[in-house]
Amino acid sequence: MTLDNIKVGNGGIIESIGGEGLLRRRLLDMGLTPNTRVEVRKVAPMGDPIELLIRSYVLTIRKEEASKIKLKEEI
């Protein structure tokens, strides 16, 4: 299951970060590392990007980027 399919208000534990190069590195740098809890808080008015809660701060990424983040389970 990937992060872009998670319902607003739900979250999960990150299993792995896909993608490559700088994009992937940026996601990791921002704290989206395996075994971290992430929650989807909101979707932008036009359906993209999405708003996440991670490591007690708010981060926004596009669905395209979110589709590269695999979760273990939806909570």
Partner: protein
């Protein structure tokens, strides 16, 4: 002894506020060599020998963006005496990620733990002593916004710098990563020393596969093989790749530290408040209307309610001052040409631009408010999907909107964009937004040709400008601005009340900047235009401007506009003077046609244009290169004259093609 301190921290960590608190008004703003990234330097209050450099806000030291490269190069190559690392205490885990990387550089370092008041007020706590022990560097709790802990911070970093006390710990790696970093450390120890690289930092960067480090250390092919082998072993043992392994290791270490010093029962009051505010401001249906409403209000206040009267007063003042100087010159008996040079050349040119200062200052007041409060990031969040279609991100929306007011502050505000590519593309597209200085031209032409349909013509022009910007975006993103599009990964910081001091400083900077330009670039441009329209080729001063150098240049260019339907030297001359300021098109037309009243001007225009060619003329004035002030801003923000010239060439060619299409296609139907 002179000390140089580097202020480093994440975006939204309160870095600028702290910088302003430390330096007061002793600041110099410039650019880093070779790039258009702002470099702020200042002298620390009451410490004449201590200078602080405010480096761009970054999240990591991997060279992901230009800002990161600039920061890295500054620390590695300029060897500051100490790093002041500002850390947002409400968001400590992610902020410490940069801290761990900074520690590897082995430069003396102090952590300014900012926004501690928000942490304690929310019933949470951080054990500063424990944190400092665990990290092996001094940690000073502060609140930059409330001016708490600043003098303690200064004492600590002055003392640390004098003692040259380096971070006690460099080793926070464990297991396989530890093994890899250490074997590479031994391998490149000598090269690192020779090239002024901290060993530990160099080794980590080589594990990460960092190219600038490989180049700087002149890593040999043989060494490269060994490094690759070591990294491969590490990846196999950890069953993951090197990027994930390192990020994971750092965050694991941070989590461990935080477990023993950070107590977090709940989100901070500010975070809870922000969530509530966002329920409205980024609401599914209300988010966009609210945003448009706020922008409308800002425009109305800037260009109407507050700006217009202030501009009027300033204009009046400039007129009075001009008359005053004019009288002095006449009484002193100076020659006519000198009088004309000063009054018609310098004062008219510089004065018309200077009168924009109030509008610029007010606009930047609102912009700082949007930026410092945290709303700017929400605009980007809300508008991103729309702008993404033309190769930009949500962050470009604000400059484009300001473009409807005036291209100059719009181009200047593109500075808030973090990606170099987005910034350049935004600067190229922004002048297509019809600015207020073009309104007098629309007024002149519609009065003469479309008095019944003035509103329709105006709206058509505004929409046309937007359409051309969209099409240009699509074209440029697949040609010139291909490649390095930065993905949209952005923090949404908690809303905060902006500090009055920061906003005042920002307004002052922009006013100073703009005024300086008026007295340099605009001053020169006005002189040149005045000269060209006052003299003929034998350098005799003339009364009839149709014999001037400018007029003959105008008639030289005039045939170029044949395909657009107007081959008239007065029209092309007006277009040339329009480069000093767009509204000059109107004044030039009146002067060159000798028209005294609007009715006469309309009659004269009717001999020069057909309704269709008049519309083509409007389209051209809408799209062709912006005024000299906007060009100067473009040059500065693009960082090179060549790029600025390319930008205005693109705009002018576009204007020509669209104008021609309008005329030629229109001719078929009419």
């Amino acid at each position: 002894m002179k000390f140089t301190f580097a202020l480093v921290g994440n975006q939204n960590s309160g870095k600028t506020t702290l910088f302003n608190k430390l330096t007061g008004s002793n600041q110099h703003v410039g650019n880093f060599p070779g790039v258009t990234i702002e470099k702020k330097e200042g002298q620390i209050k009451k410490h004449k020998d201590a200078w602080i450099v405010d480096l761009p806000g970054i999240y990591s030291l991997s060279p992901y963006s230009l800002e990161e490269v600039v920061t890295r190069d500054f620390i590695l190559k300029e060897n500051p005496d100490l790093i002041i690392n500002i850390v947002d205490a409400t968001n400590i885990e992610r902020n410490l990620y940069l801290t761990l990387q900074l520690m590897e550089i082995a430069t003396p370092m102090v952590i300014a733990l900012n926004m501690m008041d928000e942490v304690t007020n929310s019933g949470n706590s951080i054990d500063v002593v424990k944190l400092s022990e665990d990290l092996g560097i001094p940690v000073v709790p502060i609140s930059a916004a409330k001016n708490e802990g600043i003098s303690e911070l200064i004492d600590v970093f002055m003392k640390t710098a004098k003692e040259k006390k380096k971070p006690e710990k460099l080793d926070f790696c464990v297991g396989e990563v530890h093994k890899a970093i250490h074997s590479i450390s031994h391998l490149i120890e000598d090269q690192a020393k020779d090239n002024g690289y901290p060993i530990r930092f160099a080794a980590t960067k080589l594990v990460e596969g960092d190219e600038p480090t490989m180049k700087d250390l002149k890593v040999t092919e043989n060494q490269m093989h060994i490094i690759e082998h070591v990294v491969e072993d590490m990846e196999n043992a950890l069953k993951t790749d090197k990027e994930a392994a390192l990020a994971d290791m750092r965050y694991n270490y941070i989590e461990k530290i935080c477990k023993s010093s950070v107590v977090r029962h709940q989100e901070t009051i500010e975070q809870i408040r922000s969530e509530k505010i966002d329920k409205l401001l980024t609401h599914k249906y209300l988010g966009i209307p609210i945003f448009l409403g706020i922008m409308f209000l800002i425009f109305y206040l800037t260009f109407g309610l507050i700006g217009a009267p202030l501009q009027g007063i300033l204009e009046e003042g400039i007129t009075l001052f001009t008359e005053f100087i004019s009288n002095i010159l006449i009484n002193a008996g100076v020659s006519d040409w000198l009088h004309a040079l000063v009054i018609d050349g310098v004062f008219a040119g510089v004065g018309s631009v200077l009168s924009f200062v109030p509008i610029i200052v007010i606009l930047f007041f609102f912009l700082s408010l949007l930026e410092d409060s945290g709303y700017m990031t929400r605009i980007a969040f809300v508008m991103d999907k729309l702008l993404r279609k033309i190769g930009l991100s949500g962050k470009s929306f604000v400059p484009m909107l300001i473009g409807f007011g005036c291209s100059v502050p719009a181009i200047m505000s593109a500075r808030t964009l973090s990606s170099e590519r987005d910034r350049k593309l935004t600067i190229v597209l922004t002048p297509f937004m019809s600015c207020t200085a073009r309104l007098p031209i629309y007024g002149m032409i519609t009065m003469a040709f479309f008095p019944e349909n003035a509103a329709v013509v105006m709206i058509t022009l505004y929409v046309l400008g937007i359409l051309v910007a969209i099409l240009s975006g699509l074209l440029l993103k697949s040609t010139v601005f291909k490649g390095d599009s930065v993905p949209f990964i952005m923090e949404l910081p908690a809303y905060r009340i902006p500090s009055r001091r920061s906003i005042a400083l920002h307004m002052w900077e922009k006013a100073k900047d703009f005024t300086q330009r008026a007295f340099t670039v605009i001053f020169m441009a006005s002189l040149v235009i005045w000269f060209l329209q006052s003299f003929d080729w034998s350098f005799n001063m003339i009364d009839d401007s149709s014999k001037s150098i400018l007029a003959s240049l105008g008639s030289l260019i005039a045939p170029i506009f044949e395909p657009l339907g107007f081959n008239d030297w007065r029209a092309s001359t007006a277009l040339i003077t329009g480069i000093t300021a767009k509204e000059a098109v109107v004044s030039t037309m009146s002067v060159l046609t000798g028209a005294i009243s609007d009715v006469e001007l309309s009659a004269a225009l009717n001999t020069m244009f057909t309704p269709l060619s008049a519309f083509a003329f409007l389209v051209f004035t809408l799209l062709y290169m912006p005024c000299a002030a906007a060009f100067a801003a473009t040059k500065r923000e693009m960082g090179s004259l060549k790029n600025a010239l390319l930008a205005v060439t693109y705009q002018t060619v576009t204007a020509y093609i669209v104008g021609m299409l309008v005329y030629q296609i229109g001719s078929i139907f009419i």
